[in-house]
């Protein structure tokens, strides 16, 4: 069964304290690994798509990486405005559907 698991569930950082969020996936024939940011009361906002192991993408303080079993979202020197829930999702060739993890809620304190 296709599955996506994120850890930790919640993460509290001081401003400037770099860290990583983990997304482990078990899907049949990965067709895309997606990262979204979701603010309270809002819909998910697209961040990155990764398609093959070894691929990396960056945007401001965020960098997403992909291996054959997991993806990491690295946050460098975070700011309070980076506080949000980060969702990981995978598409398998088996179903073609976007399967989400439960999210990691990040809080960055000034």
């Amino acid at each position: 069964e296709d599955q996506v698991t994120q850890s930790p569930e919640a993460l509290r950082l001081q401003e400037g304290e770099s860290s990583s969020l983990n997304c482990s996936y078990t899907v049949s024939g990965l067709r895309g690994l997606f990262w979204y940011r979701q603010d309270p009361g809002k819909g998910p906002e697209f961040l990155f798509t990764l398609y093959s192991a070894g691929e990396e993408k960056e945007k401001e303080r965020l960098k997403a990486t992909l291996t054959k079993k997991e993806s990491f979202l690295h946050i460098t020197a975070p700011k309070p405005e980076d506080s949000a829930t980060y969702l990981c999702a995978a598409v398998s060739s088996n179903t073609g559907k976007l399967i989400f993890g439960q999210g990691t809620t990040l809080q960055v304190k000034p």
């Binding site: 989400f100 993890g101 999210g103």
Partner: protein
């Protein structure tokens, strides 16, 4: 350009009532998706439209849920005989062509509360 829009943003109804939730996708996007998100969870797939037809409705929980997209643009999710367990955020997303692995762009969601 404009993103995905959803109306209403909030809906409160009583158990047993009928509700309709509307989604207006990004202009030119042929694929449209509905998801349901419970508190503290990631979105769960409900149904996928390619054009006017439902290409995959395997995520609809039961026959009280139905969705249409008659002209290949706006879609309506319809829930009959609502139950308290239907309370959730209903998210709509669209993508350009519906190819597997294509990026989906989400709307702000409709927060449904069934009393």
């Amino acid at each position: 350009g404009a993103g995905v829009s959803q109306t209403p943003s909030n809906k409160v109804t009583e158990k047993g009532k009928y509700v309709e939730l509307r989604c207006d996708p990004i202009s030119g996007h042929t694929a449209l998706y509905w998801y349901r998100q419970s508190l503290g969870q990631g979105p769960e797939f409900l149904i996928y439209f390619q054009g006017t037809g439902a290409a995959d409705d395997s995520g609809l929980p039961n026959d009280r849920f139905f969705a249409v997209r008659p002209e290949g643009s706006v879609s309506t999710l319809k829930i009959q005989r609502t139950e308290r367990g239907d309370s959730a955020v209903y998210l709509c997303a669209s993508s350009l062509g519906g190819r597997m692995g294509e990026t989906q762009y989400f709307g702000p969601g409709t927060r449904l509360l069934v009393l």
